[in-house]
Symmetry: C2
Subunit: 210 residues, 2 copies
């Protein structure tokens, strides 16, 4: 099992003397980075939260990913096409580490301790990301809104070791995460309640089915 605590501890202790890793602060609604597929850049969010948003040719915006503490992102993970623009926007004030993928496994000239630890933990960081992405795909491949909701609720319930759990974001954002129309999702949520599959109280959900 990948140890999340180890990663968290090491990121908390950030203090890098080399110029290969940089820390920057952002205010709410600022653009953290735009994916341009030139720099092979990778970012780790140390605190706060941010969204990866896509603007398509019509100017329509949609949220692709939501990042919180210790999440890793960046253009290095994307094959950037010309059909839309990807950028990461701060949802709250936040601090972010920036570095270039190709430099990770290179030794710093000043033997920077943090940089070395980053190199050692990098696989773990990405592995966590792969798991998150697989989870998302697992849910997105379900064919109906009902199945998406149930699939996602199952995962949250398993993670929380409890039939009751809180949604990690608003219902509006949930619809976006599941990639469905919000009103249609609300309708389905209502049927799930009416048919006795779930109980809902604010953003707390309880599963009533096996």
């Amino acid at each position: 099992m990948v140890n999340k605590l180890v990663i968290e501890k090491f990121l908390n202790d950030f203090s890098c003397t080399c110029k290969n890793v940089q820390k920057k602060s952002f205010k709410k609604n600022q653009t953290i980075t735009t994916y341009i597929q030139k720099r092979n850049q990778i970012c780790i969010i140390l605190n706060g939260s941010a969204d990866l948003v896509r603007y398509d040719l019509n100017g329509d915006k949609s949220i692709i990913e939501h990042f919180t503490k210790n999440d890793i992102f960046g253009e290095a993970f994307y094959i950037v096409t010309t059909n839309n623009e990807l950028s990461v926007e701060a949802k709250t004030n936040c601090e972010v580490l920036f570095f270039i993928y190709d430099n990770i496994h290179q030794k710093c000239t000043n033997n920077c301790k943090f940089h070395q630890t980053l190199s050692e933990n990098f696989s773990n960081l990405i592995l966590n990301k792969v798991m998150d992405l697989n989870t998302r795909i697992e849910i997105l491949t379900k064919r109906s809104i009902r199945e998406k909701l149930r699939g996602y609720f199952n995962i949250l319930s398993t993670r929380n070791l409890n039939q009751t759990f809180s949604l990690p974001f608003s219902l509006t954002d949930l619809a976006d995460y599941l990639s469905v129309d919000r009103s249609a999702m609300m309708r389905e949520l209502k049927s799930l309640k009416d048919e006795g599959f779930i109980k809902k109280n604010g953003n707390k959900i309880t599963l009533l089915y096996k």
Copy 2:
């Protein structure tokens, strides 16, 4: 940019004397592995192809991922829930490398060269996987079959540096990859043709729009 050729070369030269990495052969339709979240296992397919399939509680089967040469997969990438069973089935005869994630970065007692190279290239292998997964999510988040098709065709066209490209799998599998009903997809494909957005000849597609 991650160098696919380097990875390919190194996998071609597989010869590991340690018992941490094992190579096994499979016949078409054999089960390569089942995800049970106990071993933290990782696999690399050296040749042939395989599918990651999910059987849900009703026994319905669906294809989650399709693996070909040099793809990496395994239970280490998944949070396994009790609601369905994941297994990888050989689509053709194939050869697969098996190892345990936790052992990758450990030095072999017999200083196995391959094992060392695996460790060095591991980040690259996963990075490629992350890019594939992000591509898939990019497509799955599109709201209509038409947008999914166009999004996917754009990616194939960009990758091929050409308005014309071959589909990497059958139309039946394409519907599965986009996670939509096959007949509905065929209908949409027909309209795209009729409306002059694409040309289709067997499994070759040409984009006629910008």
